[in-house]
Symmetry: C2
Subunit: 260 residues, 2 copies
């Protein structure tokens, strides 16, 4: 028997189609780490939409010429990383984040408003970016951004005041949508009208005194403490998509962390 243990490369042995991509990665890394980067790069490039499954693991195993165990290790890492999700019997999918609900983990409101909060867009207009906004969005100061100002309420109870800034060439389609049609959830709107998928975010919590304008909108006293959540939302490739500043009365603020 001519056992073929390792597919020696001597003659014109046809390599796996994906071998070239693997060869471009750091050869000092373990194979699973190298393959993980290759797959992650394909995901970040937007090659697969969150609605279409990736090729089956068996197909990718053949494509890259690795074993099933290695391929599964790659997938498990990417799932842990939050890039993918797997559904048995269905396939492997690019994960689409659902961050809109997350903000409300920070605030507790009268149990009355158990449902989802409504949004009222107070204004939507072009604006020249300040240094802070430009820095958050990774753009050059002075370039134009779209600015949304909105109020979120539970029933008639004001809960949060938000300012949202979006880099402008990218989010131009939103300008042609009536403020009332933007919907309560913005991220699906970003995806539908601008093709931008929010995949991750960084939030920073601080405490400040309410401005006169915010106090009026929130129905709290002037200079009363408010909790401020600053969020930068990003695409899979890390590109900043949104800079958001949300304020809510400090007495409604509560946040839980579990430490390992």
């Amino acid at each position: 028997m001519h056992s073929v243990p390792s597919t020696p490369d001597s003659s014109g042995t046809p390599e796996s189609p994906g071998a070239a991509a693997l060869a471009r990665t750091d050869p000092r890394l373990p194979l699973h780490a190298r393959l993980r980067e290759v797959i992650a790069e394909r995901v970040r490039s937007g090659e697969w939409s969150p609605d279409e499954p990736l090729p089956a693991e068996s197909a990718l195993v053949a494509h890259y010429g690795v074993s099933l165990g290695t391929m599964r290790r790659v997938f498990r890492d990417l799932v842990d990383e939050g890039l993918l999700e797997r559904r048995q019997g269905t396939g492997t999918f690019v994960r689409r984040a659902s961050l809109d609900a997350s903000l409300f983990r920070f605030f507790r409101f009268g149990a009355a408003g158990s449902g989802f909060p409504r949004s009222r867009i107070l204004s939507a207009a072009r604006q020249v970016s300040t240094r802070t906004i430009a820095s958050a969005l990774g753009i050059t100061p002075g370039s134009e951004v779209l600015h949304l100002h909105r109020l979120r309420l539970y029933g008639e109870q004001p809960a949060l005041v938000e300012d949202i800034w979006l880099p402008l060439p990218l989010f131009e389609p939103l300008e042609r949508i009536a403020a009332d049609d933007l919907g309560d959830l913005l991220y699906p709107t970003y995806e539908r009208h601008c093709g931008q998928i929010v995949a991750a975010a960084t939030e920073e919590l601080t405490i400040e005194a309410a401005t006169a304008a915010d106090a009026l909108l929130l129905g709290c006293g002037r200079a009363e403490p408010v909790a401020v959540v600053e969020r930068v939302a990003r695409a899979h490739d890390g590109k900043p998509l949104e800079y958001r500043r949300s304020r809510g009365p400090a007495h409604t603020f509560r946040y839980r962390v579990d430490i390992r």
Copy 2:
């Protein structure tokens, strides 16, 4: 499911020594999940100290009669869970948490105090537990607890006021230690003198107005907003070990979260 085809139970075939423990788990679960619970239970029972390695994976593979791949899956899950840590060439160890530094992720102080904060114990005394304390510690209201009151400072700058409650039969040894000898870090002290290892914690952040006493200690105005961090620290088996309430000036508060 996934009945193990090998090792039929027909004759007097000697089963693996660990088979009995596995048999006590829910047979509908995958083998790796069942074995994970068995190992986790042994860890939580305190069978291994954080300084002694667990048996090598080869030994456990033989003991439980599972394959190496399954054993490794179990270990990887337990590492992800934060229960264990593995060091190549050295062994697998019960993880000991290092939570003392974590509190200071919540607060930013003058970059001056770049080092570690000092602790000044203001008082240490027995106390009858209130309902709140008893509920946090999972003990019956009215039972005795040890109460520590301390101030943490960067240089001469007050940073945090803390109240710490410890269930009393357990932490009695601390009463015989001079307040000045408790040290800046309490968790190593708990381990050394009471044999209690803190493995996890839950923290809850809220915003309140400073009490007169706290304002005095923190050097801030009366009724100024303060950030409150309430922590329940637990052993590996989930038993509450400590209830802690830390307050710091709101303007020094800052917290970052990364959302997948």
